[in-house]
Symmetry: D2
Subunit: 369 residues, 4 copies
């Protein structure tokens, strides 16, 4: 199996470098006769698009997606869906001075060690630009999942500053430049990130993705667990260093009885959980409760601040990176994390249907059949 | 792709239920002419084996592994290696009272929802017993990696109690019942866990796995990143709820210049990193520095303490679990985490050789070729 | 992906050498709650079992299959099904004289060139004994397909002698030692094969496998076509050198209008094909007509007749093979071919359900929805 | 695994419909630092290109390939290579009259049954146009295999007319419109095919592909055998109904001693085979001899001759297909078969290196190590 594909049945293969003529993806395994057009995909790309505020890279591109195959008369045909976005605002000269220099914290040197060659223009294949195609694929995945499943992400921590959970408001998320659900925190972050940006530095963040309405039973035991696939999906996003489900690391501190998500019967014969420490996954399989995933993004490695490094000639150097970079790449990771959640769920939705038939609705009946 | 296999080229398929006649695995893709016998595998199983102290399940089985194929005259032949362990101490009657009752925090109800049927004896397929085959596979993976790569795990937190890093001592790990590298903490944990056990409860833990000597260049960009595969591997271990690489969640709090692992040249033409915030992986590819992974294990769900639940008839019940369980299942997760690290590295070792030729030794030369 | 597994969703992994302690397989992806016991599998193994007539190898083993996992109270649980058969009649000393000698036409030398080592006892992994597990897996696949799909194989040519199609009789197939549907041919083959056996030689054969009742729509376009998967399945059986679907090689000689399987409407709104040149597959997708596959098996390479070869020391030798071999290995390939057909169909059945929902019954309605 | 990808490590994913804006593919797993430009690919596309003689479809397109990613400064970078070809001469109106009518012998009705929808313009995804991307991928595969391996295909039978093997001349292949190695046959075929074309009919053909210089040891036992993968590769080409390796179906008629490819030592310590009945593969693994594959292509289904069919309304109809079609689609299958051979060999080359290290040169040494 190659390394530029994701998923087993809902299968996404991406291609393209930051400063090549275009980037794209091929989405295989999509069920037929689903209504799909560019208009279903573009809004998600617009949320991720750079250059929308001073807090993301100033590269300005419309990121207009085109569907090249797999759709006929507005419906998917079951054949592979090819999507592409042209690269229109590459300024490769910005990168001339780092072509044979390795930015600390960046994949420059590991690509070089692996392949003995790398495309340095805009980070080449390691650029976060690749995540645009994840967002596009996620939009298609959502069409498979349908309206009964909602997926939303939010920035819940920037640097050391966490949101106040008591102020959490879904509607706030799209009202600020940070996808921050806490209006007060958003204001504080604004001045904080301005200072970081002006100092030529960057900062990390924590993103939370929640999926509501996921059918109980999605997932798999042992390997390819739903949570294991989510962990791979999120850890595979550029700059991510940590992933947790439900209580995550805090679960280590709990006693068994405190971690137990107790159950009671509803009058209508469905099951009610009294808590969700599990984050919606037990034994790799969805419980029907909200699936809650958090991941940490490290600070952008490409910074104006000078750091010590080496070049390809084996010389000690000092390096500054002058390209147009996000002071907090975690912000744009929010729609990317949502998309990866959608892709994992769509893949498991198809895998579940293959082995077990149509997934149940997420109403937690006590009986399977 | 099915869900009971792990890895792409070093590929492990496990089978077996807790109380069936046996458990086993098939390991495919192992290079030929590697010396291998049961004696290479058994010591790792012995480390994981239950019943060795009062802090792990009292199920007592020798867990003797047998090689059924793929080895001839002491050497691997390149054909699939089948391993098996007989189940000898199943006491299925312990589980009669939970056959149609769902333990909170356990996979009972999600298996039931997914499949409409489950083998309740000892947890069936969801039992941690499956991890014995991971440990066996990990032992074979280590034979591929050779002696230049060392992998060791340790329990670095039990409940809320973390080790003191200043007392970290590799040699201490095998001297106590907790794989704890801090001798002082180990003593404290002993009384702590005794109390938990006697109260019929359980507690979570954090495990750290470190691989030293990993060739720079192992891994892959974009999907199937080395860190994404490690995240899936660790999150796929029973009861794991969180995974982090290097600084992990703490990376979210750093500035770019603090997170940068600066580089300098050594006099011999190799590169020296001045720190390892990245935990040995950049852009999904190994840097040659130690690979550092931590994961959190939730407290055992099967506890004597009574909790609220439901049964398959849709009745509210109270449930206690009387089987023989680990008060801190995180302890036995240490050799399992080591094994998953070994499996991921062996898989990437083969995948790297496929595309790029023999991996480099981990001496960080400035030139690839 | 490793090389000892077959199928994508119905996934079979086999292991074991001819003279090891046992052979076995793991079947992953089986839907839950299907009634399954050893009694569903054993009859198919008995059909393939050696030593039943003087026309197959005289190795005598009961080939008793055991289910080790994945079944609980007579029903599949959705977890992997491990099957095993003990090897009880290995006579490895028969092979001492060929341990470092290479039989022409056999995989001895290619295993040696690939791996630098081989298990010579009974052919090791390259023995046709591996096909017992294919037959076992095929029996499980048939349980997924249900009674609406029937699969039967027959020997339609032995050496140069073809059956007379006008005498084709399904009921005859199990009445002779050749799975021959032509009673007259079976009698002729008997004396023919006796002579070949006594002369220490062997002969090839052609097998035909027909599946009736396959839902239209099973399969896939482009790659993993139903016919491409069948071709791989049959060509992957030991000693097979050719595969054809429907008219096969004869299709090359036809004009377009002669090859066209014309269609007419039935009064009940279903479609009727007027011929089946296509062998039930168009564009990689089932038409609902019988799927017809033929494959050719070369003569057994292990023969008493002396042939020229070399040994591992690089010496020219003459070689005779004295083990117990089939004079026409094509006979026992009949149940193996049936099994591979069942495995391919079960896999596509699950893959179709994943992407498109429940397969249609094979009544060829004019409308899909 | 999805169905529009081919190969395990050298992995090709194609997309695109006959009359969409473009077709394309993504090639993953290519080793880094291989010189590659459009000029390495275009000559192979030009050989397959339609409209070059009156014996292939009159659709006229330059089929100019563009590399969109994965190459930097003329060298592969190890990242996915995206290729695309614009569709410039679609005349979709030709197909208006078959939009809801099903051509006998064509995939129209099976796509409809599978997906409940199809893109009828030019056959949509089932068009042979998809094979252009196979040819492009094959050109990249050849770059991996290097000059030591040569692959050439030829048309060895058109309709009932076979070439005379005694007149076989490699140099003749590119001198006629049929890729025919027999100059006399080529002249005969010309008048034959003219008559067929003028009568509005079509005819089938047999293609032979030979690979010389393949390292002994390439391939795999049991599943994913080299010959099984070749069978799938060739059977997966549009309109192919049969595949054979070496003696193929004729092997069924041989005695064991006649089929044995005897071996002798050369003075330089290498092995010499005295024949090649096996077609270069034993036990799924290459012998180092030429690999010989033949496959049969049925006559083009889209013909002017009227045949009986049905339409989507369930009405009996007569159908003629007026698009621009190949009277013998087998001609253009020659470069496609070569390409599939190259893709399979490149994939096995990488897979062999993963498990066993660098493949041997094809000089058949008696020792592996």
């Amino acid at each position: 199996m190659s390394h530029n594909s994701f998923g087993h049945l809902f299968r996404v293969t991406t291609w393209g470098e930051s400063h090549g003529p275009a980037i794209g993806c091929v989405i295989d395994g999509v069920p037929p006769r689903i209504a799909l057009s560019e208009a279903d995909i573009q809004p998600y790309l617009d949320r991720r698009r750079p250059g929308q505020s001073r807090f993301t890279t100033q590269r300005r591109e419309p990121d207009t997606v085109k569907i090249l195959s797999g759709v006929y008369q507005g419906l998917t045909t079951g054949t592979p869906i090819a999507l592409t976005i042209e690269n229109t605002d590459q300024r490769s000269k910005d990168y001339a001075n780092i072509a044979d220099r390795f930015r600390p914290g960046h994949a420059d040197i590991t690509y070089y060690w692996k392949y003995g060659i790398r495309d340095p223009r805009g980070g080449g294949r390691s650029s976060a630009r690749e995540t645009a195609m994840r967002v596009a694929a996620g939009a298609v995945a959502r069409r498979i999942l349908g309206d009964a499943i909602t997926i939303r992400g939010a920035l819940v921590q920037m640097g050391s500053h966490r949101i106040d959970r008591s102020r959490y408001d879904d509607f706030e998320i799209d009202r600020n430049d940070f996808f921050c659900p806490d209006a007060v925190a958003a204001i504080q972050w604004e001045s904080e990130l301005d200072a970081i940006r002006k100092s030529g530095s960057s900062v990390g963040a924590v993103i939370e993705i929640v999926a509501v309405g996921v059918p109980p039973g999605l997932g798999a035991p042992v390997y390819a667990k739903l949570d294991a696939d989510l962990a791979a999906a999120m850890m595979g996003i550029n700059a991510v260093k940590a992933v947790e489900i439900g209580d995550g690391f805090a679960a280590a501190t709990l006693r068994g009885e405190d971690n137990a998500d107790e159950m009671r019967m509803n009058p209508d014969g469905t099951v009610r959980f009294l808590s969700n420490h599990a984050g919606g996954v037990l034994g790799g399989i969805a419980t029907g409760q909200p699936i809650i995933v958090r991941f940490a993004v490290k600070p952008t490695s490409s910074i104006l601040t000078e750091v010590a490094s080496v070049d390809a000639d084996g010389t000690d150097i000092k390096i500054q990176t002058k390209g147009r970079h996000d002071p907090c790449v975690g912000i744009r990771a929010v729609p990317v994390g949502e998309a990866m959640m959608a892709c994992v769920l769509a893949d498991h939705w198809l895998r579940h249907r293959a082995q077990c038939g149509e997934p149940m609705p997420a109403v937690l009946p006590i009986t399977k059949m």
